[in-house]
């Protein structure tokens, strides 16, 4: 290899690395901070000292419970979060934070035990390592999903910009922050009753959650039990909630699984614990589509209404 060419290649490499570092810096400073995960992270840091009631889980919880209506509560959920991630997040804050929790709220919705929740991590774990590495180490991640790579984990940890181009586009289009977040709750304001085609979107959501997957996955039920055991260990009262969904969504979901059989299996697990109460609100808003943002997520009004009901249960 001649000297001039070698110098050229080194210059090229140097420019490339510099640009990557710069892109990563700008992404971390200006884009990442607008993401839901980052905002949730920032808010828990500000609020964990006062938090006694914690809402954990996926998007149904994140949009469906309003911590501003229950004193000392915080919504610590994230979109697509499954029981495995919830377990590690909960374990981390109980062990590492000076937090005095007394109540935990968990969802038991139709998609929560589905293997599609693992598929979601398999598809997306590498894009949010910057967030998850704090709560879950690589060895534990490997227990949940087999197809991982330590090098990729480390790369994604230090270069969150990798694989996150779509969020840069969203930032440039001004659509990255299109919802407010308050005490961890993502506030959604759409009115599903005004949707043009409720049936289609409900069908799509049910399909997204439940098609081509095992509806009661062993890994998910194992982590669910781990959460309950952790709650027992820390003397937490656990409220397990079947979140309200639209009637359309419920109807289409029934095409993918036997709902009664599904909940029999869930209750077989919960029956083993005496610190648990189950609150079934799945049909609470069957005739009130205006409380929904979309077929299976509550809007702010719906969330406030539901939170008030749950508050009464906590106070009992």
């Amino acid at each position: 290899m001649n000297k001039k060419a070698t110098i050229n290649y080194l210059i090229f490499l140097l420019i490339l690395i510099t640009l990557l570092i710069l892109a990563n810096y700008f992404y971390t400073a200006y884009v990442l901070t607008d993401t839901l995960l980052s905002r949730n992270e920032e808010q828990i840091e500000d609020n964990f000292r006062n938090t006694k009631i914690l809402f954990s889980g996926g998007s149904h919880v994140m949009t469906g419970l309003s911590p501003d209506r229950i004193e000392n509560s915080f919504n610590f959920s994230s979109l697509g979060e499954n029981y495995a991630y919830t377990y590690y997040k909960l374990k981390y804050i109980l062990e590492s934070y000076d937090i005095r929790l007394n109540t935990l709220i968990l969802p038991i919705d139709l998609q929560d035990f589905s293997s599609s929740r693992i598929k979601l991590i398999e598809n997306e774990w590498h894009t949010n390592v910057w967030y998850w590495h704090k709560y879950i180490n690589y060895e534990n991640l490997k227990l949940i999903i087999k197809e991982t790579s330590y090098l990729q984990w480390q790369t994604a940890k230090f270069f969150p910009v990798i694989g996150n181009g779509p969020s840069i586009i969203m930032k440039l289009r001004g659509s990255l922050i299109n919802t407010d977040m308050k005490l961890g709750q993502q506030i959604r304001v759409n009115d599903f009753s005004k949707s043009d085609d409720q049936d289609k979107s409900a069908k799509f959501r049910a399909e997204w959650h439940l098609s081509n997957s095992e509806t009661f996955d062993a890994t998910m039920s194992d982590y669910f039990e781990r959460i309950l055991n952790l709650g027992k260990e820390y003397n937490l009262n656990i409220l397990i909630v079947r979140f309200p969904v639209s009637e359309e969504y419920y109807k289409f979901s029934a095409e993918y699984l036997d709902i009664d059989e599904y909940y029999e299996k869930v209750y077989e697990i919960t029956d083993k614990y005496d610190n648990i109460r189950i609150l079934d609100y799945h049909d609470l808003f069957f005739d009130k589509d205006y409380f929904f943002n979309d077929p299976d997520h509550l809007n702010k009004n719906g969330a406030d209404y539901l939170t008030d009901l749950i508050k009464k249960e906590i106070d009992m």
């Binding site: 290899m1 090229f12 490339l16 990557l20 892109a23 790579s149 694989g163 289009r173």
Partner: protein, 479 residues
């Protein structure tokens, strides 16, 4: 270890350094060790089958070359062994199930046996390499390779182990012997080819796959526009996926100083189905031509026999892709296309000969590309669908309620993604057209260094930012 992982890049970097540090004489040893290491990193138990195929093929080839008599019998033993390995491990359960279903049609009870077999990675590729080698030694095209290590390397060479190209032994061994090395050119050329492969696979194919899977795995929920979108997307997904793999393999081999055969030549710009098969998965289609079609008589037979030959070749080709009737039907459709093409080609020639108008010729050319692409698209439905029933459902419903289902597309795929995918496909299209006319690399070499570097950096950034880094296996890796 996936070709797409950071682990592979590190592994490959180490191999390249060691490869160029050691003396030329022993470089093949480095490649052999790394190939076996690469294969073991997937599923250690698979090593048994590739080793068996290698050993049997190696010794039988030697025996064939030394025998004056019974050469055909030895060839039959060698080929049968590889075919039994392939059929036993890949198709046993498929045939067993098909027999059971067939007998059930006549209410005859047939107790099928199903084997709990693990999928052996790359088996369709390494057994085909072994078979072509045995046939070539039998036909005295070349002498068998004496060095068992080098032969094992030919069978297991890691860049092409999972999904080809199905390299011919003489080309491979000649390159090992020649050892012509311009390291700098090899590395730079190889890196450029790999980069293009990563772009096709990680950014385009895997992004399209999300939508295609969503639609094709839930077809009962769709009619009209989403089915059209899913089918178009699949055509580009499979091209970008497989061509992406081939470019990564060819680029990696190039860095190591080996030229693998080209596997794709812009197939969707084909003006006819026979042309498509000269441009799509070239290493496989030429394999079938040389080792199945020509031995069957090729086109030097009567029309009836030729028709049968074509159908046999395409049915086997379909079955090679996977143990499912959907693949068989896909192959059959292409066989029918080939026959129809032959029947109408005389008529078509007359039309073209009578035309001297350049604009009309260009229009006819575009029309032929358009028609060929859509015929291919129709066949892809069977290739991708999860069952024959699904394929029929799609064909029945693909033009139903097109306008009223248009909005459904945006439930499946966000507008941002459509824009991104559209832009990327346009980029690929432009590259293909330039490559077809002048050659991208030739054109690039004439541009200022600043432009070239900017382009390379832009492509690297597109891959890093928009790549789907979840481990999505290559489609052809599953064959």
């Amino acid at each position: 270890m996936s070709l797409l992982s950071v682990d592979f890049l590190l592994f490959f970097l180490i191999i390249v350094i060691i490869y160029y540090v050691v003396s030329q004489k022993y470089r093949w040893v480095i490649l052999l060790i790394s190939s076996y290491y690469f294969y073991i990193s997937w599923k250690p138990e698979n090593i048994i089958f590739i080793t068996l195929s290698t050993l049997v093929s190696y010794f039988i080839a030697i025996i064939i070359s030394k025998s004056a008599f019974n050469r055909k019998k030895y060839l039959a033993v060698g080929v049968s062994f590889n075919l039994i390995l392939l059929i036993g491990l890949k198709y046993f359960n498929f045939f067993s199930n098909s027999f059971r279903n067939f007998f059930q049609l006549f209410t005859i009870k047939f107790d099928s046996v199903f084997l709990n077999i693990v999928a052996v990675l790359g088996i369709s590729f390494f057994t085909f390499k072994a078979i072509s080698y045995l046939v070539d030694v039998y036909t005295k095209k070349y002498e068998p390779e004496k060095n068992i290590g080098k032969f094992a390397l030919y069978i297991s060479f890691f860049p092409q182990l999972m999904a080809g190209p199905i390299e011919r032994a003489d080309r491979f061994f000649n390159q090992l012997k020649k050892q012509k090395q311009n390291i700098q050119i090899n590395i730079i050329k190889g890196l450029k080819i790999m980069l293009w492969g990563f772009l096709l696979k990680l950014v385009i194919a895997d992004r399209l796959a999300i939508t295609v899977n969503q639609i094709y795995n839930n077809i009962d929920n769709y009619q009209g526009s989403p089915l059209i979108l899913g089918t178009y997307f699949f055509a580009f997904q499979i091209y970008c996926d497989f061509a992406g793999y081939s470019y990564i393999a060819i680029g990696a081999a190039k860095i190591l100083g080996l030229d693998l055969m080209n596997n794709f030549l812009r197939p969707y710009l084909s003006k006819s189905i026979p042309e498509f098969w000269k441009r799509w998965h070239i290493s496989l289609s030429s394999w079938f031509r040389d080792y199945l079609y020509i031995p069957l008589g090729g086109n030097r037979v009567k029309v009836g026999r030729w028709t049968l030959n074509i159908i046999i070749v395409f049915l086997v080709s379909g079955l090679w892709h996977g143990a499912s009737w959907t693949f068989v039907i896909w192959g059959f459709i292409h066989g029918i296309y080939m026959i129809i093409h032959k029947l109408i080609s005389k008529f078509k020639m007359k039309i073209i000969k009578n035309e001297n108008n350049e604009i009309k010729n260009s229009f006819l050319k575009l029309l032929r590309i358009f028609i060929t692409f859509h015929l291919i698209l129709l066949a892809w439905i069977f290739f991708r669908a999860n069952s024959v029933g699904d394929s029929i459902y799609i064909i029945k419903n693909i033009f139903v309620n097109i306008t009223s289902t248009f909005q459904d597309i945006f439930l499946i795929i966000p507008r941002e993604s459509i824009l991104l995918i559209g832009a990327l496909l346009f980029l690929v299209f432009i590259f293909q057209v330039i490559q077809e006319r002048k050659g991208v690399i030739n054109l690039l070499n004439k541009t200022p260094i600043l432009f070239r570097w900017s382009l390379y950096i832009a492509i690297i950034f597109i891959i890093l930012l928009f790549g789907q880094f979840a481990k999505n296996p290559f489609i052809y890796q599953q064959f």
